[in-house]
């Protein structure tokens, strides 16, 4: 009996000790607290306007890479950043450019400069004011390549930023650039406090990725690696009518998709970004949940190395396009959540022009292959990422191309390895790609993928597609000051690219998110989940 008691005590104390250990771990990070909470500025938080106990938890598919808008290129970071940072312009839910920190803007007649009038009375979360000097300081920092910002090339079009007066700023481009306005509406073109930036300039080791101070309706409170990022309502937000309606938003990285689904079903999270399409179907019937689906800015494609003999002939490239039944692929691979790509651009992108698509036609495909000298097909290697979705696409392509005698060997690589193989520019045959046009305007959708000067290393034209006509059209469109001219040039570029078929144009996948019914006003713009207007009943 005595020994049994000992055992029991041992077991209880062991479990207790383990629990304590985990508990300690749970509270072990006192360093990453709020930047400059409102209380530190001598202001008391006014919680009366907030819905009681309103905290919304969002499950993201991965952890943010950075909370510095100039240093992050992934959608998980952008989802969080959009609650804290604002730019001069933004895109609304309809994809229209709307002023945010600017009151209005004007582009010069020759499309070389853009002048913004700024909103006055805007405060950063650290209490410092927003003005023209802040805009200049931010843009000068990010475009300086020596500072190594991930978005440096994005702002490479800027030649000079001039402060005209405290609330007027002019951006001058290196050459005529009609896409400037769209670039300034991108979620990366947002501004951080001058005080924070000065800290980085004074001390190169200062970590801006961990100290986000913007002007948005929510301010940063805490980032616990692998656990969550927490933002809380900013009570001094400049637009009283758009004040945060939630006390806080918690962003949790949950890599495993099934776990995200279970968390939503169990009520532990309120919003799930990037939902597996199979679950989206079953969730649509759950009365406590809402599923949102809509086209994304992404296009999925199979790139072809046009330097290889077999793909030099346009007819071969067209044949491969005719041989793939895209509807079947969307139904099998994406559970119906996608639309056939009828342009290299998503329909959400400005100046997208619908093109005559390659309607599934095996006879035509075989005929074209025979004309090009491949009546019995050929063998090909298809590189893909090793994610479930990409491998499923690859297997589907393999199956479909078999019908025209093209024998495909699928080789799956982890994404980092695949990038390196594509960058090397050697050994590439067929490869699966996905391009998201983050700016929602045509130049960013076409130039990186089809311009002659964007071939490897380190650019996305991994199929070495080179066409002087397309280059000229893209340059003309960018220089065009007349919207109609730009639109026409982009339309012609899309037509030429579709006809030349350097890609097998697959489909535009849908954005699929789900939320609990008691959370309202969650929207998706530019593939980013927007929670600024969200509230909880």
């Amino acid at each position: 009996m005595k020994s049994r008691q000992k055992w029991f005590l041992f077991c209880v104390s062991f479990l207790f000790a383990t629990a304590m250990l985990t508990g300690c771990a749970g509270n072990s990070d006192p360093t990453s607290s709020a930047n400059v909470p409102a209380a530190e500025n001598g202001k008391q938080e006014d919680t009366t306007k907030l819905t009681p106990n309103a905290e919304v938890t969002v499950a993201l598919e991965a952890e943010a890479t950075s909370l510095d808008p100039w240093n992050s290129t992934d959608s998980n970071s952008l989802n969080i950043l959009s609650t804290m940072f604002e730019g001069l312009l933004s895109l609304d839910e309809n994809g229209e450019i709307v002023p945010v920190l600017a009151t209005d803007y004007k582009m010069s007649a020759d499309a070389t400069s853009l002048t913004f009038h700024l909103r006055s009375g805007v405060l950063f979360h650290d209490g410092t004011p927003f003005d023209a000097q802040v805009v200049k300081m931010n843009l000068d920092y990010v475009r300086n390549k020596a500072n190594g910002m991930a978005r440096a090339s994005f702002f490479g079009f800027i030649n000079e930023v001039t402060v005209v007066d405290p609330y007027t700023v002019t951006i001058t481009a290196n050459e005529p650039n009609s896409a400037m306005v769209a670039y300034m509406a991108h979620p990366s073109a947002t501004f951080k406090s001058q005080k924070e930036l000065q800290k980085k300039i004074d001390d190169s080791k200062y970590n801006l990725d961990r100290h986000p101070v913007g002007t948005g309706p929510y301010q940063f409170q805490e980032w616990k690696n692998g656990q969550y990022v927490k933002v809380v309502a900013f009570t001094d937000y400049w637009a009283k009518e758009k004040q945060a309606k939630l006390a806080a938003i918690l962003f949790k990285p949950v890599i495993e998709a099934s776990t995200r689904v279970n968390m939503l079903k169990a009520g532990e999270v309120d919003v799930v970004t990037s939902l597996p399409t199979l679950d989206a179907r079953s969730m649509g019937t759950d009365s406590s949940l809402d599923v949102y689906t809509g086209p994304s800015l992404n296009v999925l494609y199979i790139g072809m190395n046009t330097k290889l003999d077999k793909y030099k002939d346009k007819r071969v490239r067209q044949a491969l396009n005719y041989a793939v039944n895209k509807e079947q692929m969307i139904s099998k691979v994406a559970d119906g959540f996608g639309t056939v790509a009828d342009s290299p651009l998503s329909p959400l992108v400005k100046d997208y022009a619908k093109q005559q698509n390659y309607v599934y036609d095996l006879d035509k495909a075989k005929e074209l292959l025979a004309q090009a000298g491949y009546p019995n097909g050929f063998t090909a290697t298809l590189w893909t990422r090793n994610s479930t979705e990409f491998v499923a696409i690859a297997e589907n392509i393999k199956m479909q191309l078999q019908n025209i005698g093209v024998k495909v060997d699928v080789q799956a690589y982890e994404s980092g390895t695949l990038f390196e193989k594509l960058d090397a520019g050697q050994g590439t045959d067929l490869y699966i790609g996905r391009w998201g046009t983050g700016t929602a305007e045509a130049d960013w959708g076409l130039r990186p993928n089809f311009a002659s000067d964007r071939v490897p290393p380190n650019y996305n034209n991994s199929g070495f597609y080179m066409n002087e006509h397309v280059d000229q059209l893209l340059d003309d469109a960018l220089k065009a000051t007349d919207n109609n001219v730009a639109q026409q040039k982009y339309a012609e570029a899309q037509k030429t690219i579709m006809d030349e078929a350097p890609w097998i144009f697959l489909y535009v996948p849908d954005v699929v998110i789900a939320k609990r019914k008691n959370v309202s006003d969650v929207s998706v713009t530019l593939d980013t989940v927007r929670l600024n207007a969200a509230y909880k009943q």
Partner: protein, 306 residues
């Protein structure tokens, strides 16, 4: 004994040097460029070169290794490329989670594994022995990934008794530790059963039985002491494995331990974090092995090391 321990500890040093070289080479020769992964498809060469220079990638590999070695000797594991935070701090934080999960898992594993193993052996060929064999074989064959999701579905989604995932409270610890612990329990149960059965054939057991000692006394006082040696070895190995971050389970339950950190680091080609984690896991295994060897003599005082 002290000399033995001292010798073993000193013997660890050259092993660590070899591991540091191998882990450095392994990490640097892994395909995938960390800068490209960090900065995405559309980065210009000027920014690329500037970042490359800052990270010291332009130096020859042996210079980079020398820098790495002098850094770790001064206790600095560098800054993570991905999170831009101190790697040692991050490992320290996450180690507590992994340690908690490991202890809790080993608790289930030992309690269930030993009880089932000993009972099955003592009641060999009985109904309960067969049940034990079938259930342990089944559990070993079930993928942890699926088992974890099933537990989550039943206890968190359907019954609502426990949280699905995350960390911070004791309740969060239960499902991942049971998922891990049951797998290890099945292994320990099978090891214990066969080990106990083997010892039960020994002459001294027959003598004890002939002297009329109760079966329970024989098993608890005579058999277990001898039978536990291989079980301790297996337990140590499993403990070392769990401490190395139970990658799949941590991912399924969004447990912020070393396993999920390793996955993040490898995907981002976060060299400093990858190197530090490989080194840490190696040290853990060496230490666990040392403890296992020492524990032999504690369990069976006849075993002495010179």
């Amino acid at each position: 004994m002290v000399r033995y321990i001292l010798g073993r500890v000193l013997g660890i040093i050259p092993i660590l040097v070899i591991i540091s070289i191998l882990s450095f080479l392994f990490v640097h020769l892994t395909p995938g460029d960390p800068i490209r992964i960090m900065y995405g498809a559309e980065m210009d060469m000027a920014t690329y070169e500037s970042v490359k220079e800052k990270l010291g990638f332009n130096d020859p590999l042996y210079v980079q290794y020398g820098r790495y070695l002098s850094q770790i000797l001064s206790g600095d594991f560098g800054m993570s490329y991905k999170t831009k935070t101190n790697v040692a701090d991050e490992i320290g934080r996450r180690f507590l989670y992994t340690l908690g999960l490991t202890f809790a898992s080993m608790f289930w594993a030992l309690v269930i594994g030993l009880v089932v193993g000993i009972y099955s052996a003592a009641k060999r060929k009985s109904f309960w022995d067969r049940i034990g064999i079938i259930s342990t074989t089944t559990i070993i064959s079930i993928p942890e990934f699926w088992f974890g999701l099933m537990l989550m579905q039943i206890f968190a989604v359907q019954l609502g008794w426990l949280p699905t995932s995350g960390s911070g409270t004791f309740a969060h610890l239960l499902l991942p530790s049971i998922t891990l612990g049951f797998g290890v329990a099945a292994i320990i149960a099978r090891f214990t059963r066969s080990s106990v059965l083997e010892v039960l054939q020994e002459d001294f057991v027959r003598t004890a039985r002939a002297k009329g000692q109760r079966e329970s006394v024989i098993i608890w006082t005579h058999v277990l002491r001898n039978a536990l040696i291989p079980v301790i070895t297996m337990t140590g190995l499993q403990f070392g494995f769990l401490l190395g971050g139970a990658v799949v389970v941590e991912q399924v339950f969004a447990w912020p331990g070393l396993g999920s950190y390793l996955i993040d680091s490898v995907l981002a080609r976060d060299y400093p974090a990858m190197q530090a984690l490989i080194l840490l896991f190696s040290i853990q295994f060496l230490i666990v092995n040392l403890f296992v060897d020492i524990s032999y003599s504690l369990v069976n005082p006849q075993i002495r090391y010179e």
